[in-house]
């Protein structure tokens, strides 16, 4: 048996034995790169209204448009090239999922860790609020918040963060409570280190494994949630259609058999979410101490 040197290398050594997870990771990376490079590789800028030809609207896949290039996935109701719209939509979805996930991670983990660290009243209050919030479905919170805050990227992110930070806080609190009782924390506290430093430098790093598992799930969730909100008309403005909105726009044409407007953006969305979840599953299995025997 080869002994890998760093924990990360050992982690990867185990990870790569799951072929499905490795492929999924590859898909996530590939989609991310394609989304980032959307302005460079997509045939058309779908947000430039001057670029759209209404005559080309709702054409099936493979249609050669008036601009002379082939719409491999067809066009939507505004005459947008669907492939371009999907690439740009992925870009928005990933961006929002990552930003919302990162903010929720930072906020939730900090809250949870501090609650566990300080204990007493502060802990009781914070955890009560979080438990209360967790007993409501996240999508309902996001729905109401998105409605209250209005359309736009940041209101949407705020709604997603509110709906999701509690999962991080609960996880961080559980892990940090366990860490808090260990001797090394007392050892760190006996030195003249600020409490803040002990929490961030000593406790939180040891809570990372479960938080990473939650993070993969939550990034996938916020991408799906964003799509659902946009589908219900509560997400981003119509000028910059995310995947959810592309699907919503295509819905009315589906009954007349023009499936591609809704189906292809959905396929892109699903491939992305499934791939993230597959990676997350493997990470969870690897980090779950109860399955190690």
């Amino acid at each position: 048996m080869t002994e890998a040197s760093t924990p990360l290398a050992r982690f990867w050594d185990e990870f790569r034995h799951n072929t499905v997870a490795v492929i999924a990771l590859g898909v996530v990376i590939a989609i991310s790169i394609m989304a980032m490079a959307a302005p460079l590789i997509s045939p058309q800028n779908p947000y430039d209204l001057a670029n759209l030809v209404l005559m080309d609207a709702r054409r099936p896949p493979g249609f050669v448009g008036s601009k002379g290039f082939t719409h491999w996935l067809g066009t939507d109701a505004q005459g947008r090239d669907l492939l371009s719209a999907i690439l740009y939509g992925l870009r928005i979805s990933i961006q929002i999922g990552l930003i919302a996930g990162a903010i929720a991670f930072a906020l939730g983990a900090t809250l949870g860790a501090f609650a566990a660290f300080f204990g007493g009243r502060i802990e009781a209050l914070i955890m009560r609020i979080i438990d209360l919030q967790l007993s409501f479905p996240a999508i309902l919170l996001a729905l109401v918040l998105a409605a209250l805050l209005g359309q736009g990227k940041w209101p949407l992110i705020a709604a997603l963060v509110t709906a999701q930070y509690a999962y991080f806080a609960r996880t961080a609190h559980g892990a940090a409570s366990a860490e808090r009782s260990k001797d090394y924390v007392d050892a760190a506290l006996s030195t003249p280190l600020a409490a803040r430093r002990v929490v961030f430098r000593h406790i939180l790093p040891n809570c990372l494994p479960p938080l990473i598992v939650v993070a993969t799930v939550q990034v996938a969730n916020s991408i799906a949630l964003e799509a659902t909100l946009s589908f219900l008309g509560l997400g981003l403005p119509v000028t910059e259609p995310s995947l959810g909105m592309l699907i919503a726009n295509g819905f009315q044409y589906m009954l007349s058999g023009r499936y591609w407007i809704s189906i292809y953006p959905g396929v892109a969305l699903i491939v992305l979410i499934v791939a993230i979840n597959l990676v997350g599953d493997q990470v969870r299995d690897q980090l779950n101490p109860r399955l190690r025997r």
Partner: protein
């Protein structure tokens, strides 16, 4: 046990009060419902009369106290849009959602738990891998998109099932239900299937994870050493041991589905409360939003309470700890 329940109920009342304040302030902080209430070309006089009639000229705290006062008499106010008592409006829509939710959650549990247990029992068999693949799909794919695909496949392309509405209903206990008529059942099938996929995936995962862990314990080894058959071990020992998280999720999912069947109801034009809330959000129908959110909160508190009681029934260790 009784003391425990009373304590929880008091707690629930306090929580409801806090939530009512939050919801009221939140909902009333945005938008101007006057534009919804009256036509744009109404005279200034009518405008002011309407504002006064709905108490919209009062400061927020006064409006809230009035609201609480009316609430104490069981009056949630009238819908701006439908011009009928909010509670009546919600209760007229509730059976449709209840029916849809029950069908979805029951179906998902009845199918998801046995399949999940099998996948946990034989994690490496091809069947288990297929079950897990379906579950990952059900977990990942947004419900609304599955709804579209279901409509496209079964309603548009194949024409087997209707694409929307409740279909024929029949009365039971004075309430109209779809599942009592064949036509209604056909209408119920697709939306219920749509709504159940996520829950199915969740049940499969829970049952699989639980079974995998329990199968490794000494409880199972000891039962095997006593000569129990694998079927008996799974049915009598493992199922009882994994029942607690499953019952929790069953309760919570039932609650959350009841609250958020929004996407499914929108796609299938199912006249339930989910569709009502989306409509009221877009029309700024404040009384409906407030009442709906408070009902959902109430509902969740009740579900959490009953899940706790169910815990005690399923786990004898908790029972004695509380009695002591």
């Amino acid at each position: 046990m009784l003391g425990f329940i009373i304590q929880r109920v008091l707690q629930a009342c306090l929580v409801m009060l806090v939530i009512s304040a939050l919801v009221f302030t939140g909902v009333y902080a945005v938008g101007n419902p006057i534009d919804v209430l009256i036509s744009p070309d109404a005279t200034q006089l009518i405008r002011e009369q309407t504002i006064r009639a709905y108490g919209l000229d009062q400061p927020l705290w006064k409006q809230y106290l009035d609201f609480l006062g009316r609430l104490a008499r069981g009056d949630f106010g009238r819908s701006f849009v439908y011009n009928m008592p909010v509670l009546d409006l919600i209760f007229s829509r509730l059976p449709a959602t209840l029916e849809l939710t029950l069908a979805a959650v029951l179906g998902a549990t009845a199918l998801g738990v046995p399949l999940g247990m099998y996948a946990g029992y034989r994690p490496d068999s091809p069947v288990s891998k297929a079950i897990m693949a379906i579950s990952i799909l059900g977990f990942s794919v947004p419900t609304f998109w599955i709804g579209l695909v279901l409509i496209f496949t079964f309603a548009v392309s194949l024409g087997w099932l209707p694409a929307g509405n409740r279909g024929d209903t029949a009365a039971l206990f004075g309430i109209q239900w779809s599942f009592l008529t064949w036509n209604g059942l056909m209408h119920l099938f697709l939306p219920a299937l749509n709504l159940s996929l996520f829950k199915f995936a969740l049940m499969v995962r829970l049952a699989r994870a639980g079974t995998r862990e329990v199968m490794l314990t000494d409880t199972v080894k000891f039962a095997r050493a006593a000569g129990l058959s694998e079927g008996t071990i799974l049915l009598r020992h493992v199922l009882r041991l994994i029942a607690i998280p499953i019952v929790t999720v069953f309760g919570l999912e039932f609650g959350s589905t009841l609250a958020v069947a929004v996407a499914t109801e929108t796609i299938f034009s199912w006249p339930g409360v989910g569709k009502l809330i989306i409509d009221s959000i877009s029309t700024l129908d404040r009384p409906v939003m407030v009442a709906y959110l408070m009902l959902v909160a109430f509902f969740f508190i009740m579900i959490n309470l009953s899940v706790d009681v169910a815990y005690a029934a399923l786990d004898p260790r908790l029972r004695t700890r509380r009695a002591a």
